[in-house]
Amino acid sequence: MSNDDEVTDPAAVAAAMQRIADEKQVANELAHRRLDAADAGDTDTVAAVDVEIAECASRLAAAREAAGVSGLPVVGTHYPRMNEIPPDP
């Protein structure tokens, strides 16, 4: 099976999209927990949550790749021209 076949498999895509949604809920709660712990000065909890956040981010990235929605948006292709600023009109 080719990569194209994988990302166009409706069932696989649907499953991956559901994993993305689930992981976003996890990320949401982790982000709130981290913020609350930081406000409370609880550095141990912040450190522990950071580990969970890294794991969650990794799972999200994997789910996005499986769903075919990962990767860099087509942006930033024009700004290197800044090094050759054209004359003012």
Partner: protein, 529 residues
């Protein structure tokens, strides 16, 4: 396009021979100077009448020595600056000046170049190995002991400051440093600096804080490229904020993945930051600290948060505090796009972060009509909007509405509140904001977080909720509670006493029960609708 200066009007409106004489050379030719790539008007005179005094036009023109590109440039340039009468309007001809020391421009005055094109304009460049703190500055920055004279601004127009960073090993390495109250900085290109590109500063070279205001500085139509600190940095040295009420408009910045910040304002009290573009910075695109009356509107940021050291980085980072009580921020019409390349592991990203970060009794802001586009799969936790009250004694009033948040952000809206955030949040789109709260037998519910979740609060009941706590909401705030029974069913909920007429969740296994309440401040109750 050639510039052509018409004579001043006489009392009776006629043009007299004496008027023409004021702007002509000694053989009767009208003075004009061609600037094929610039639109700026310059009143200049030929070399033969160099340093002519046109005081009857309210102007004193002073042509600076032509650049040689050698170590002789500094001494000749500084000597000519010092030789001009007060109030000079200097003109620096086209070419590359190579400075081995920092020229200080006397105030009040203006410095004009032949354009900000690095190849065809006027370029002030730090000499190889000069290791200076700046390329060019107000003379007072080098010598003042803390109090700039009133009305002593230097205005700068139409040139390039090049920090030549690859050939320096030390020094602060800023580009243009200025501090004059009301100064205008227009059409300057700052590039290749170790430090900041354009740096209005309320501190001297030695770091002594100014004791009088140097506010109302205008930075317009400037460009920044490859500046290591910030392309534009209003550097505040005085704890009571002397560098306020400035303008940064219509500037284009490319950090080239080397710059920490695009536009940074340390004391953003009364500033207007609008219609700018910032690309490819390592930390934050727009950093507006100690905001008091900031207007951050219609800006664009693309690519941020790629510093090798993991940290918290933002496209738009605004913080109230620093003793500026009653801070206000209008954050509207901006567009943000996430990192261009993958950030360091452990990095936390925010599209827009608005925080009350130190003791402010009350701060207020609007976050409206922004478009936030994330980047999926970067391996860092990304949140589109953070609203955070980190002060133990503050009230933070926020309207967050009509923003578009795309699906690439991990978390759409994050509300942090050590004490109070009064939030009205409506009509956002682009990503669901339902908060699915992990089961707790004793949940504490924060109204602002419910508001940020579209007015929804959900929980799957895997046990009985024995007590709930929910603090006072915004008057008229609506909150819908959705309980879902697990496969066992028959879980119960003990509603808070402040809830009027709540119903028990349907007991059937997997049943879903939704109830909506509205907060009525007059009776301090959440009333079922």
């Amino acid at each position: 396009m050639a510039d052509f200066i018409l004579p001043g009007a006489t009392a009776h409106g006629a043009v007299l021979a004496t008027d023409l004489a004021l702007i002509s050379d000694n053989v009767g030719n009208i003075n004009r100077i061609p600037y094929p790539t610039e639109r700026t008007y310059h009143l200049t005179v030929p070399e033969s009448t160099k340093n002519a005094d046109h005081t009857s036009l309210g102007l004193v023109d002073w042509i600076l020595p032509k650049p040689t590109g050698t170590s002789a440039d500094y001494a000749a340039f500084q000597a000519s600056l010092n030789a001009a009468p007060s109030g000079a309007r200097y003109f620096a001809p086209q070419g590359i000046y190579t400075f081995t020391s920092i020229p200080g421009v006397p105030a009040p005055s203006e410095v004009h170049g032949a354009g900000k094109n690095p190849t065809t304009g006027t370029v002030f460049r730090m000499a190889n190995g000069a290791n200076l703190d700046a390329v060019l500055c107000d003379a007072g920055w080098l010598s003042l002991s803390g109090s700039p004279p009133a009305g002593a601004a230097v205005n700068y127009y139409d040139f390039v400051v090049d920090g030549n960073r690859t050939n320096q090993t030390s020094g602060a390495g800023h580009g243009l440093v200025t501090f004059g109250q009301g100064a205008t900085i227009e059409r300057i290109d700052a590039r290749n600096t170790i430090g900041d590109g354009i740096r209005p500063s309320s501190g001297t070279q030695a770091g002594v804080a100014m004791t009088t205001s140097c506010n109302e500085i205008k930075v317009r139509w400037c460009t920044g490229f490859n500046c290591g600190g910030s392309a534009i940095h209003f550097a505040e040295f005085n704890t009571s904020a002397k560098l306020t009420d400035g303008f940064v408009n219509d500037c284009v910045i490319n950090g080239n993945s080397n710059g920490d910040y695009g536009i940074r304002i340390d004391g953003a009290a009364g500033h207007v930051v609008s219609r700018n573009h910032v690309y490819a910075v390592k930390k934050s695109s727009y950093a507006l600290y100690r905001f008091f009356g900031i207007r951050c509107t219609d800006n664009y940021g693309e690519g941020f948060g790629i510093h090798a050291t993991p940290g918290t980085y933002c496209c738009f980072d605004l913080e109230a505090g620093g003793g500026l009580d009653g801070g206000m921020a209008t954050i509207s019409g901006n567009q943000a796009i996430g990192p261009i390349t993958a950030p360091a592991s452990g990095t936390i990203l925010y599209g827009i972060a608005v925080q009350a970060s130190s003791a402010v009794t009350e701060a207020s802001c609007t976050i409206t009509s922004n478009i936030l586009r994330g980047r999926a799969g970067v391996g860092a936790l990304s949140t589109a909007i953070l609203i955070h009250n980190a002060s133990s004694s503050s009230t933070f009033n926020v309207v967050e509405a009509h923003n578009v948040i795309d699906s690439a952000w991990d978390v759409p809206i994050l509300i942090g509140l050590l004490t109070t955030v009064n939030l009205a949040s409506t009509f956002n789109t682009g990503q669901a904001r339902l908060v699915n709260t992990t089961f707790s037998a004793t949940p504490t519910i924060l109204p602002a977080r419910v508001e940020a979740a579209g007015g929804l609060w959900t929980m799957t009941l895997t046990g009985n909720v024995t007590s709930m706590t929910m603090t006072a909401g915004r008057d008229g705030q609506r909150a819908t509670f959705i309980f879902t029974q697990d496969a066992t069913g028959s879980r119960t909920v003990a509603w808070p006493a402040s809830f009027v007429n709540p119903a028990a969740p349907t007991s059937t296994a997997n049943a879903v029960t939704a109830q909506t309440f509205v907060y009525v401040a007059a009776i301090s109750k959440w009333v079922k609708t």
